[in-house]
């Protein structure tokens, strides 16, 4: 190395601006906050349930308010984006080799969507 190599500083907080692939990555990471927020909603639901029918009804009313619907819609968009962006990465993390060839990535991604659909159906079945 030369006696005076020049080191370019990187902004610890702004490095992802101006580069679409970094912004996509940040979007994928940030959308986990929606999942985090929804777990609080579930905990609130459990507490309301434990506090009796009136408390639970109040919780349901809160969900039906414009704010509650807006919150659920925002969470849905965030969670769908988060899930899709992670599913699209699964063939890289979990390649499957059958015989000599690798299973095409679309099949691995598709299997995740299939699993998602099955779990959603089970939840729907239990809920109805």
């Amino acid at each position: 190395m030369s006696s005076r190599p020049y080191i370019r500083e990187i902004s610890k907080t702004g490095w992802f601006y101006g580069q679409p692939r970094y912004l996509r990555y940040m979007a994928r990471e940030v959308t986990c906050i929606f999942i985090f927020a929804y777990t609080f909603l579930l905990i609130w639901a459990l507490r309301a349930l434990a506090n009796g029918p009136e408390a639970y009804q109040a919780f349901l009313d809160a969900l039906n308010s414009p704010l509650g619907i807006l919150f659920n819609l925002a969470v849905l968009v965030g969670v769908v984006y988060h899930s899709i962006s992670w599913f699209s990465l699964t063939p890289q993390a979990m390649p499957l080799q059958r015989g000599e060839e690798f299973v095409p990535g679309n099949i691995i991604i598709g299997a995740h969507y299939g699993g998602w659909a099955v779990v959603s159906l089970i939840v729907l079945f239990l809920g109805v």
Partner: protein, 247 residues
């Protein structure tokens, strides 16, 4: 043959005289078939002999001419002028210290690469007279893509994690460790795990995936790192929950 006048903006730095890098623009008559490396060679041969940059093969095999072209890590020999507008900015590879002009310091990468033992460590000793280590086409295919790595370091320039945490072992070194771990003839995984399964190893990676997007040889280092994470996690569970199971 059509010719086009290109304004080539080059980030220059002379450690003997400059406090910091500065941009210098050269007007270069480029042929349509040229790559950015040809334009740099034109500058060196005709306009400014003091310009420093690395290159060797001019065919995307040696991995020497990696640089930032319009902010994107590229091999200058594979970046065709016709794919760019009339103004092209060329800078040294991001995340590496600048030695001079477009030449960066590669010591850190070389040391990291050596630390993962990127060579075959045979499972058992075998004399030459006992013959070769045989491998099926499927066993070869399991790791073959990683053998295409040319150590050009574009993946390190694309990796924000390496830029923010210079201790990170980085994409190419871990992908090459994974290449040997995946090789049916190799028995060196335990020796490599100490380095690659450490905090500065795979666990510093947050799967931005930029390394795989910029790789000029279509290697998937990001995939390799996630596979190492999964295998290391399984190791941890086996060790702590099933200590009686031999690795």
């Amino acid at each position: 043959m059509s010719e086009r006048q290109i304004q080539l903006e080059v980030l220059r730095y002379n450690p003997e005289t400059d406090r910091e890098p500065r941009l210098q623009t050269y007007s270069v008559p480029c042929l349509n078939e040229w790559v950015v490396l040809d334009a740099l060679n034109y500058v060196k041969d005709n306009l400014d002999t003091t310009l420093s940059y690395r290159w060797s093969c001019h065919m995307a095999v040696c991995g020497s001419c990696g640089m930032m072209i319009n902010g994107e890590p590229k091999l200058a020999c594979k970046a065709f002028i016709r794919e760019y507008a009339d103004q092209i900015r060329v800078e040294p590879l991001a995340n590496f210290p600048i030695e001079r002009d477009l030449v960066t310091s590669v010591e850190d990468f070389i040391a990291k690469l050596a630390s993962v033992k990127p060579y075959l460590i045979p499972k058992e000793d075998k004399s030459i007279s006992a013959g070769e280590f045989k491998q099926t086409p499927a066993e070869l295919k399991k790791y073959k893509q990683y053998t295409l790595c040319i150590n050009c370091m574009l993946c390190y320039a694309a990796c924000p994690q390496y830029g923010l945490v210079p201790e990170f072992l980085g994409p190419a070194a871990i992908a090459l460790a994974h290449r040997y771990n995946q090789d049916s003839r190799d028995g060196g995984r335990d020796q490599r795990q100490e380095v690659i399964a450490s905090h500065e190893g795979v666990w510093e990676c947050s799967f931005v995936g930029a390394c795989s997007e910029v790789c000029p040889k279509h290697v998937d280092p990001a995939g390799a790192l996630q596979q190492v994470k999964i295998a290391s996690t399984i190791d941890w569970y086996k060790e702590h929950l099933m200590p009686w199971v031999k690795k």
